[in-house]
Amino acid sequence: MPSNITIEQPPAMNSSKAQRASLIRKDPALFSALIAIWLSLAIFIFLPLVRLLAATFIVNGTLSFANLSKILSKAYNVRAFYNSLILAMAVSAAGTLIGYLFALAITRTNWPKPLKWLLSAITILPLISPPFTSSISLTLALGPNGMLLKALGLGQLNFYGFWGTWISETLTYFPVAFMVLTAILTTMDANLDDAALSLGASRWRMFGTVTVPLSMPGIANAILLLFGSSLADFATPLILGGHTFPVLPTQAYLQITGLYDLKGGSGLSFLLLVPALLVYLFQRSLVGKRSYVTITGKTGARSQFSHLPHALEIAVGAVSIFISAFILYLYFIILWGSFVKIWSVNNTFTLDHFIYVFSHGRKAITDTLKIAVVSTVVGSLLAVVIGYVIQRKKFAGRRVLEFSSMLNYALPGTVVGIAYILAFNEKPILLTGTMTILVAAYVFRYYATGIRSVIASLQQVDPALEEASLSLGASSTRTFFNVTVPLIIPAVLAGMRYLFIHCMTAISATIFLVSVRWTLLTTRILESMTELQFSQASAFSIVLIVLVFIADALMLWLMRLSTRKFGTTQETLYDNTGA
């Protein structure tokens, strides 16, 4: 653990009195904003982490490794650690490969436009679905009594464990790789391919010497993102892992909810936190090094001939179409499952499950929506303030602020959830059971994308625009609201869209924080699954997916509206998925 995350005092306050005085005098607004930001980070990011570390390393009031070594002495826990890493490697390899094939299909073939549109639309589905969706439908298809197994005559196959988890996570996360790789393949100068071919290279040679090497930054980025996502994923192994395949997030969860062992849970979280943070730091430094390709409009047009080697194009086609069909099939199963009486026993059509969802599940629906809306509003306001301060202001500890504000985002949800119970379960800050703790968990985790897109978008806004406004007599407040904010609105909306989708669908952190007073759709889905009420789980999932779809369409429409007049480029929405 880097020691700087235990700093509770903001560095700005550590610096000399003279400097502090000058900041108050020079920019009182910045000074008070910084105080407010650091205070909220101290409460909602540092305090929980400190409590987590304390629970892991402090035994009877002294620093000790006894707790950790006790955890590591159990073979089952060590296996969970290895399993987590192996699963993450397998998912990142398979997911990146599939993502790359999809990206090639979209950017390097001349297949008909509607087909390409369909392929990209299908990849969006796993991104906006709750994390259980593919687990549920895979259970229905490949689990005991699975439709697909029956159809293939493989009734006895047990896919619980590594294989089921791997397939499900790969299907859930490959769209992240797809988005990263599509972005890099699109920005690659179109004439490079043409140049290679005109210099006499074969298509395979061109692909191997131009396309792949230039995609490497994106491939590396995708591998790390998927590795992190799989490492953090909690929902999938909980349903599909079974007892034979423990991983760290589920172990930590069971330790706490099953055995009420907070110390054990904290220790396992710590084991999960270390590789997750390493991968995150590695990925950030990688992305930081990449030079951002700007589109100058001066490159020539892409020639209309497909440049992929024929065999590769056939492989791309086979894989992308097979996987798309499989995803559609899985969603169809869920839809179908939500409309039958008892899954695979009594297949008569019924609306009972939806009636149940809208009566007994109504509270979960309204709670989820309320929490998502509040979190989105609060989170994006914070993101704008923090992003603006980081990008446009100069003050001591700016880099530390940037890193600290995004820390929760880098950590697996399970870790954050456990840290939050440890921190907010007792006075002085007693928050368990309230809406505040759920909102805080979402805001300080998922506003990171908002902060990043605000920073990226401010980098595109020439400071001369703000100077122009000031020189025309506008105050700095007026400048901020009339010039800066309208120009970054598309980025803010992109951040809001991401925040909202995650508030609707995430579970790993909040599973520890729900209560009788506040419950969530995702926890209802999990409950239905553990009670083997597959049809109910499917109905909850369908309702959730439809709600997210509507909200997402609304956000997209707003984004389009806000960029129509002056055409800023939209930020890439997903550069990571927090499970």
């Binding site: 001369a464 406004s469 020189s471 025309l472 009339n482 010039v483 309208p486």
Partner: protein, 364 residues
């Protein structure tokens, strides 16, 4: 004596760059009268833009004072200075129509709608864009964006108009047209204007006075004619127009007249702008413009220097000769072209006549 529109007193700006202190602007002092157009000219990195940005209030000077219309402005925020700033890339608000861009400052000031309507209309008419109010910046050409930027500033009737390389993003022809256009508007409104450029042609054609800067310091301030004919330093001589600089040994100084020994045993007398910094017995720089160098057929005479033609380039209005003077170095000469005149060829042996009336001495 009337108050100057702008006064800079010993303005200095030190930037902290990677633990190293860089003096971007070094003790610049300047006084500008009302209605005057002063152009800051110099190579890139000479501190001219930083000086302008300190006048605007985008940067605060490390030391020194700035007054506008006699009022102390050194630490006043930019939005309280009453200046108008035209940016190199225009900085038009992309999310606002042309009308709203121009109206922006008036709205900040809280003017009524009817006044805004009238003033914006007048400002757009002044720059020749009366009908563009409803368009957006990305629908305008570079030249049109430039005019909107100008209108947006002029509508505020600022005490000072500050322009930072406003023409550098335009193509050559438009640049030349906009020069006269900006000068016309500036004169018509009688507005005090400070203008940054690295293009000497722009400076010479537009300025009342030019402030030449180099390495953060002021080299010379003066009317274009004075800078051209009486440069105070080799830098100015070389930066404004073209100049031949020959190193020659000084034999005597009489008042403002300096004498130097020339090859062939004769003595050349010419005036010196700062004779006190020239010493007899040492070298001085003889500065002469190419159009003041006469190329004639070879002759052994007093006032003639032997030379060899390295190249002769026909430029239309004149012939450009590159001449080798042996030990003295090389020289460029422009001979204005008249049909039927004799044109020397490469490798011809010729004589060069320096017009001592328009030559001058500067410290080496």
């Amino acid at each position: 004596m009337t108050t100057p529109a702008l006064e800079l007193v010993d303005v200095t700006k030190i930037f902290q760059k990677d633990k190293e202190k860089v003096k971007a602007v070094d003790s610049v002092s300047l006084s500008v009268s009302k209605g005057e157009m002063v152009i800051f000219l110099g190579p890139s990195g000479c501190g001219k833009t930083t000086t302008l940005r300190m006048i605007a209030g985008f940067e605060l000077p490390t030391s020194g004072r700035i007054t506008i219309d006699g009022a102390e402005m050194t630490n006043v925020p930019v939005n309280k200075r009453g200046i108008g700033f035209v940016f190199q890339n225009y900085a038009l608000f992309p999310h606002m129509s042309v009308f709203n861009n121009v109206a922006y400052g008036l709205r900040s000031r809280g003017e009524s709608d009817s006044i805004i309507q009238g003033k914006v209309k007048d400002a757009l008419a002044l720059v020749g864009l009366a009908n563009a109010g409803n368009r957006y910046p990305n629908q305008l050409s570079g030249g049109e964006q430039q005019r909107v930027a100008l209108a947006r500033v002029l509508v505020m009737e600022p005490k000072l108009l500050l322009m930072d390389e406003p023409l550098s993003n335009l193509d050559a022809k438009l640049r030349i047209y906009m020069r006269t256009e900006i000068r016309r508007i500036q004169k018509k409104l009688g507005i005090t204007c400070l203008y940054v450029t690295h293009d000497q042609a722009e400076a010479l054609t537009m300025a009342d006075r030019i402030m030449v800067m180099n390495k953060g310091r002021v080299e010379q301030v003066g009317a274009p004619y004075d800078l051209y004919s009486q440069p105070q330093s080799l830098f100015v001589a070389d930066f404004i127009g073209q100049a031949n600089i020959l190193k020659v040994p000084v034999t005597g100084i009489h008042g403002e007249t300096v004498q130097a020994a020339m090859p062939g045993g004769w003595v050349l007398s010419a005036r010196a702008t700062i004779p006190e910094r020239i010493e007899p017995g040492k070298n001085a720089s003889l500065v002469i413009r190419p159009e003041n160098v006469l190329v004639v057929s070879k002759a052994q005479k007093e006032g003639h220097l032997p030379a060899r033609v390295m190249s002769a380039i026909f430029m239309g209005s004149h012939i450009e000769y590159h001449l080798d003077l042996g030990n003295m170095g090389s020289l460029i000469a422009f001979s204005s072209f008249k049909p039927g005149m004799h044109i020397f060829n490469e490798d011809d042996e010729v004589s060069v006549v320096l017009d001592s009336a328009v030559s001058m001495f500067l410290p080496a």
